[in-house]
Symmetry: C2
């Protein structure tokens, strides 16, 4: 049988490490696994029969793939409709899989992707199709239920904590009489995992940046927040604040700077600006604000070695899951020990976790709602450990394109 | 005699490498140089007699200092008034220097700082004070005249070009039917050096990000710009744009996103947001925008080895300048060869370059004004070469505070 690997949703700095793990593990079973195809641009690529043959990637290319950010095969955002609503889309997908002798589908995504894994697994069983569908976790948001952490998160966490430590030293050296603030807006629409990670920059030092961490789990209270900012500036001359992009007021409204696109989707971004402006208007301080946006999830030049290892391990485990017939399952990380950190891989039922979202537990959030706790730091600390060597060409990371060949189509064209 | 070293204006990822160069070089001349004091928070700290004794920094601390971002001794923004307007401030400064037997002042700053160097040098000579004042260049903006490049620029350039390459792979993998754009806003109020540096991410590949580079030297033409964005999206499905923060329209107005908050106050966003919104509103594409702000000038985890070496070398050279009595001068980088890159240090008269600003030369800007040329890339390429080893503790760069002791005051208190 052949395997099909597909990337889904927002990509990460180590999603291709998972891909490399899948491909390398599959090659260790030449008796049971033929080719590993990759869907070009996610499940929509699979539906369009746009498949890439990963056989052209030699060992050196695989090693380079593992250290390349973005989704090397392309990703997409697509929710599989209910089979009762649109059976044709399932027909098509199974046709593509059958046409290319694909017996295992490895779907690398987040909460929504596990929904697809569960749906596809159920429908394949109902139709008697011998397909093994396995979910492979990834997300910088760290919000998948059933796993101790998610590949992609540790590297984004390391990047953001490093950035807060570095920028914190910058603003500390620029302290002026009138006081100054620095606001770092990080990803996290509904959960504050990445915001919490910036607290690692301060460690045990209560006077080190970030002085305040605002997460979506805690409704934003202007007055409480401003009083704390003023207190920190009074003590240190400056204040560094981390803001989750999805920060909300008590009535549920997201902070300023939202806009609607033509399709009516809310485009987020700008909670950091809103908070910075608020401080400026109410307290008069000089302000700087940074929004790393894609930079935080693509910084392959500064990934966490632990995250990188877990990304590869879960890719490899998903191949084992296919071989073991663990249909509709997702390999997850289980924390065995905190110090020294130890972990292993365990199976989780995709249907049990699909579309759920893991928020910061209450014990990770300080009672005043303006920072995270030592428990949070203990949880986060192991995930940012270690660095991965970066190969550079002309002073920049070597991210040349890969030599990937499209697989000849065997089916008629399909339109969505 | 003792030396006084002071940091001025916006700091960089390698300004402390210059400081370490100063301190190390001074220690090699125990017969001629006593202590190296650092002004706490720049020239204002010197005026307040807030001096720090760098003698407490041992060799290991100096090595760590060189790799620490921000200004370890504190910086400030302050322009020395004309002596005719405010002779008292000169009196005070010379009093502080005399009280601590300071015979050499090393002032580490940008264009404005060279004005202070020239003024102070002139006034000391007029008064017959045997002070040697030396300017030491630093700025991420790369806009100091008389030097081939400025310490701090190469590292910010490397960080931004790396970020564009990484984020470019991210957005390329997320291509959707409706088209998408990514806008990276970089520093540069009047000059496009940092924006130009992001072009290194693409190298010779015309289809690689960034597809468009907008610099303050070229007035922003909405229609020409939007037509190019549409063409790139038509060809590739996405478009990555670099925008200088100081981008201006033909009438000289800076491009800023204006929005109104609930109270009716105008909120100013950055040029990057303005450009992203413009694209979205006129062309309908999905957009992401990043503003690294302080992150781009403090990313000590990813500095250029060439920049780092030059920062140290100019610190060391400034001590030689003091010893050689090169009063009112600034050591500058001269480019001797491009490939392989070679450079040396030459003296420049501070008075000749003070307050001037070096823009991108016309031959570095593409005829259509929407990108930079191969000449620009040839100039920039050597400046981002090589990496510097980062020491980490618990997964983050080791930036513990330094053990610095205040020097006992010998003068009455001073108020500005």
């Amino acid at each position: 049988m052949n395997l099909l690997y597909a990337q889904s949703g927002g990509v990460t700095a180590v999603i291709n490490a998972t891909a490399a793990g899948v491909i390398a593990a599959a090659r260790e079973h030449p008796q049971r696994i033929g080719k590993v195809f990759a869907a070009h641009r996610g499940i929509l690529g699979a539906l369009a029969e746009n498949l890439l043959d990963t056989g052209s990637l030699d060992t050196a290319a695989l090693a380079r793939l593992a250290r390349t950010p973005g989704g090397a095969f392309g990703s997409c955002r697509f929710d599989l409709p209910d089979v009762a609503v649109n059976p044709a889309i399932y027909d098509r997908l199974f046709d593509v899989l059958a046409a290319h002798d694909i017996g295992g589908l490895l779907y690398n995504g987040g909460n929504g992707s596990m929904d697809l894994v569960a749906r596809l697994s159920t429908e394949a069983r109902r139709r008697g199709i011998p397909l093994v569908t396995v979910g492979v976790p990834k997300t910088v948001d760290n919000d998948i239920v059933g796993t101790d952490c998610c590949p992609g998160f540790g590297s984004a966490a390391k990047y953001l904590a490093t950035s807060m430590r570095e920028a914190g030293l910058d603003i500390a050296s620029m302290v002026a009489d009138r006081g100054s603030v620095f606001v770092l807006e990080v990803m996290g629409r509904n959960t504050g995992w990445l915001a919490a990670a910036t607290a690692l920059a301060a460690g045990e030092d209560a006077d080190a940046p970030p002085h305040i961490v605002l997460v979506p789990e805690v409704p934003f209270d202007e007055e409480v927040f401003l009083a704390r900012v003023a207190a920190v500036v009074g003590r240190l001359g400056y204040c560094a604040v981390t803001v989750s992009e999805g920060l909300r007021r008590a009535d549920g409204r997201i902070l300023l700077e939202k806009s609607h696109d033509r399709a009516g989707h809310v485009q987020l971004g700008g909670a950091g600006l809103a908070v910075a402006r608020l401080i400026h208007e109410r307290l008069g301080y000089k302000f700087h604000w940074a929004i790393p946006d894609y930079l935080q999830r693509s910084a392959a030049h500064w990934v966490s070695a632990v995250d990188y290892a877990q990304a590869i391990a879960l890719g490899r485990a998903s191949v084992d899951f296919v071989l073991d017939g663990r249909d509709g399952m997702m390999p997850a990380i289980r924390r065995l020990a905190e110090s020294p950190y130890d972990w292993d891989v365990v199976p989780v039922e995709a249907a049990h976790i699909a579309n759920l979202e893991r928020s910061l537990p209450p014990e990770f959030i300080a009672p005043d709602g303006l920072h995270v706790t030592a428990s949070a730091r203990r949880y986060l600390q192991p995930l940012i450990q270690g660095e991965v060597t970066v190969t550079t060409v002309d002073g920049l990371p070597d991210h040349r394109p890969f030599d990937l060949h499209p697989v000849a189509r065997r089916l008629p064209e399909w339109t969505r």
